[in-house]
């Protein structure tokens, strides 16, 4: 994944590097990413960013471990951009 791509979100690069560093094993990289995020968003921004990263690092495991499918309503709401992204062409894991 290209972490330098512009997400269009303010501070997107700093946030993405922080997420990447938290999930990486390199302590030095995380310290630098944390310092950059502190400069950008302050103490509260660091805490709230850490809260989101840690929450979704757990949520993805619930979703993947339970195999919960998307609801019909969500499938309907996302039909256009799933088609645009080519997501519908992905094969579902069944092995």
């Amino acid at each position: 994944m290209d972490a330098t791509a512009d997400s269009g979100v303010a501070g997107g690069g700093v946030l993405i590097e922080f997420a990447d560093a938290v999930l990486d094993t390199d302590g030095g990289r995380l310290a630098a990413a944390r310092a950059a995020l502190l400069l950008f968003a302050g103490d509260a921004g660091l805490v709230d960013s850490a809260a989101i990263v840690s929450t979704f690092n757990a949520i993805v495991r619930i979703a993947d471990a339970t195999g919960m499918p998307l609801s019909d309503a969500v499938l309907e709401e996302t039909a256009e951009f799933r088609e645009a992204l080519g997501v519908n062409g992905f094969r579902t894991s069944t092995g």
């Binding site: 999930l23 709230d48 471990a65």
Partner: protein
């Protein structure tokens, strides 16, 4: 760190975040619905241990994780299918399959045991990842408390297409109604087989992300220091890094 708080940190952690984590952490040490407190603490210990497991590292690097046999580096006496579940969900969640889950069931891992294991794992990952993210030492594992699992299985469980049975929106009984109100998002329903454990995770989710009622509102950030688009960017990045099929 032994104290279950962040008071020694140079930055202030919101009390609702620390409080939700502390309550969940202490509950890991108590008997749940299908596992004893000692077993639940063992699950949390195994979650931490999995990231250093040599078999998991070999599988992670393989084209298919199912092509590599072997024995996990384990620190517990949990049943073998439980250890495999913990290690794979912790280290390679994006490549789990229905066939793999069904093989765990054939080896004797009950669906209720499995869902509770997933929730304890998720709680452990959430608390440990937060500590790492803010630069804190991980909390000591909770002390286990004697007690017997309730083994209460909710009514109205249905096959909604997940690996495990779930309670559909609109079908929650009186003991689960608070979780639905009256509908529940997919991630909530996914663990509805063990409602008491689901409540623990919902509490963390509400404090660290958003209360359920605010999630569908794209402008809502519940007063966080980062905007909703910034929150969702972080969420999407973490999901992508984990190869989440969702």
């Amino acid at each position: 760190m032994t104290a279950l708080d962040y008071t020694g940190m140079a930055i202030a952690v919101r009390e609702d975040v620390g409080g939700a984590q502390r309550r969940a952490w202490l509950m890991i040490g108590k008997a749940g619905t299908w596992w004893t407190g000692a077993e639940r603490v063992a699950i949390a210990a195994e979650v931490r241990n999995a990231t250093g497991c040599r078999l998991c590292q070999q599988r992670k690097a393989a084209l298919s994780p199912f092509a590599i046999g072997g024995v996990h580096d384990s620190v517990s006496d949990l049943p073998a299918p439980a250890i495999d579940a913990i290690h794979r969900i912790r280290t390679d969640p994006g490549r789990l399959t229905r066939g793999w889950y069904e093989r765990l069931a054939e080896q004797g891992l009950d669906d209720g045991e499995y869902v509770e294991l997933v929730v304890v794992l998720a709680l452990t990952v959430a608390v440990d990842t937060f500590a790492r993210a803010i630069g804190s030492e991980p909390w000591s594992l909770p002390q286990s408390v004697p007690g017997r699992p309730t083994r209460v299985r909710p009514e109205n469980l249905t096959d909604e297409g997940a690996y495990v049975p779930t309670i559909p929106s609109g079908h929650a009984g009186p003991t689960e109604a608070d979780l639905y109100n009256p509908v529940a998002a997919n991630i909530y329903r996914a663990i509805s087989l063990v409602p008491d454990q689901a409540r623990l995770f919902y509490a963390i989710l509400g404090a660290q992300y958003l209360p359920p009622a605010l999630v569908p509102r794209p402008d809502a950030n519940d007063g966080r220091a980062i905007s909703r688009p910034q929150m969702e960017l972080l969420a999407a990045r973490v999901s992508a890094l984990n190869g989440c099929f969702y």
